[in-house]
């Protein structure tokens, strides 16, 4: 494992994937929750469209996005061509393929994290915000001084779930890239699967699964700790 350059590449991919998808989807989820929680017209529509990707199977999501990214025909190129931009091949090029996968993951997971923020926002007492308004605070100050501190435990909780998801949700790779080109979009669990059930190198795959178990256990201990706190305070 240590001597396998592909393993290091895949681990690196997975880390990039984690540190881009997690903050991006948490920030988008927080914006979504604020929008759904405010008195805007069309809230049911917003909640529906934000949450819908969560219930779709990732394999099907991969199919839908594949069409989106299709060189020349996909929506991205269709829009690009309106502005005279050249065709792209996001999933076919080593430099951009991982970003294509990151985009799908953000689209899929943000709505899921939104519901935790929504619950947290609804738990903030109204009089706190009203008092701040009377004191002359603007929206940004209210968010920064009242909302953010009160939802910090939720952010922590979501970060743990998101970190685990970044390592075990890999089905979109099957329908979109199969880890390619040249392992540029492969993630750890996908590489493990390939070693175990495509190359049938069981011993090597088991070594990788031990690595993943240790990694996820460390994250998971944090999760149980947080879950326990949530249960107690509810």
């Amino acid at each position: 494992m240590i001597a396998d350059p592909v393993f290091w590449k895949v681990l690196g991919n997975n880390l990039i994937y984690a540190i881009t998808t997690i903050p991006a989807s948490i920030i988008i989820a927080l914006i979504m929750a604020q929008l759904v929680n405010s008195a805007l017209p069309g809230r049911p529509f917003l909640r529906f469209s934000f949450f819908l990707p969560v219930v779709l199977p990732l394999i099907a999501v991969g199919n839908i996005w594949l069409f989106f990214y299709l060189p020349g025909f996909g929506l991205i190129d269709q829009i690009g061509s309106l502005f005279g931009l050249p065709n792209t091949n996001i999933l076919g090029s080593s430099e951009t393929v991982l970003w294509g996968i990151v985009g799908v993951s953000i689209w899929k997971e943000s709505g899921f994290y939104m519901i935790f923020f929504l619950a947290a926002l609804q738990g903030i007492p109204r009089d706190l915000k009203e008092a701040a308004y009377i004191e002359g605070a603007n929206n940004w100050q209210i968010f920064r001084r009242i909302t953010l501190p009160l939802i910090t435990p939720t952010i922590l909780f979501i970060s743990v779930i998101a970190t685990i998801n970044a390592f075990i949700r890999i089905e979109h790779l099957f329908s979109m890239t199969q880890g390619g080109p040249n392992y540029n979009s492969a993630l750890l669990l996908y590489y493990l699967y390939e070693n175990a059930f495509v190359f049938w190198d069981t011993a090597y795959a088991i070594a990788q699964s031990v690595f993943l178990i240790v990694l996820l256990s460390i994250i998971g201990i944090g999760q149980i700790f947080l879950m326990d706190r949530r249960v107690h305070y509810q």
């Binding site: 017209p41 934000f50 219930v55 099907a60 839908i64 025909f73 619950a119 075990i168």
Partner: protein, 269 residues
């Protein structure tokens, strides 16, 4: 909030909402129009069901659907039985090594089924269950998560109710059946919805343990169908993808609130 700022928010919110629906709308567009209109956005393009018929004819989706229903029903109902019994024991009885055993159950929470694929695969092969629907279900039945959430709920049931039932002559199983389960129904619903959507969406494990149409579930069938090198048309793949996800989208439209509540109370999907 001032009027202008509110309008900006409304427009921004709706843009984000449409942006989020866009990939799905695009797939629907491709699926309901003839192939020539796939990339031409003409509002008056003729509608067709041809792509759906084509997809339906090219792979046994009815069989996949039936397999998926059997797999999901089998898994979730077995989880209810096993987890309710185990959770009841952990919540209400004293027995030797209880805490050690509960600790072992909690350890399973740390080890996601995805990382022990290989060991599970060996076990299923040893049991001679390869390529069957029970093989897909088996690793999930003794769900640590189910035991954990049901135990937490059972612990909130007042002990006085047990005593009342005992005085009325109920035995242990009757107490579980007539006191604990009715009082914990919301937890069962939440856990059930989470379990159903997890298994409906499950892919990696079913892919590994099944290799024929007789036991393949929708997700695996869809993936096999889309990855065929024969150059399946995009419109057909879109139609197949929509057929596979339609039951979920419809269920979600009807039970939106329950879905969202379940996912947020249990913390998983």
């Amino acid at each position: 909030m001032t009027g202008n700022l509110k309008n900006v928010n409304v427009i921004g919110a709706w843009l984000l909402g449409f942006l989020w629906l866009w990939p799905l709308l695009y797939a629907i567009w491709a699926a309901i129009h003839p192939i020539e209109y796939q990339v031409r956005f003409d509002i008056f393009a003729p509608l067709t069901l041809f792509n759906f018929k084509n997809a339906w004819a090219q792979a046994p989706f009815a069989q996949y659907m039936l397999n998926t229903l059997i797999y999901v029903t089998l898994t979730t109902s077995s989880q209810f039985v096993v987890c309710a019994l185990a959770a009841f024991a952990f919540a209400r009885f004293e027995f030797p090594l209880k805490n050690v055993l509960f600790g072992l159950v909690l350890i399973q929470l740390l080890i996601h089924p995805e990382v022990v694929l290989i060991e599970n695969y060996k076990t299923i092969r040893f049991l001679g269950l390869m390529d069957t629907i029970p093989a897909i279900s088996l690793p999930y039945i003794a769900s640590a998560f189910g035991i954990f959430v049901l135990r937490q709920t059972f612990k909130t049931v007042p002990k006085a109710l047990d005593d009342a039932a005992l005085i009325d002559g109920a035995n242990t199983l009757q107490i579980l059946r007539h006191v604990y389960i009715p009082l914990s129904l919301p937890t069962f619903v939440a856990y059930g919805l989470v379990s159903i959507s997890y298994h409906w969406n499950n892919y990696l494990w079913p892919l590994i343990v099944t290799n024929s149409d007789d036991s393949r579930v929708l997700n695996v069938g869809l993936a096999v169908f889309s990855m065929e090198e024969a150059g399946v048309e995009w419109a057909t793949i879109s139609a197949a993808t929509l057929m596979v996800t339609a039951p979920l989208i419809i269920a979600f439209l009807i039970f939106q609130r329950q879905f969202i509540e379940s996912f947020s109370t249990t913390g998983i999907k």
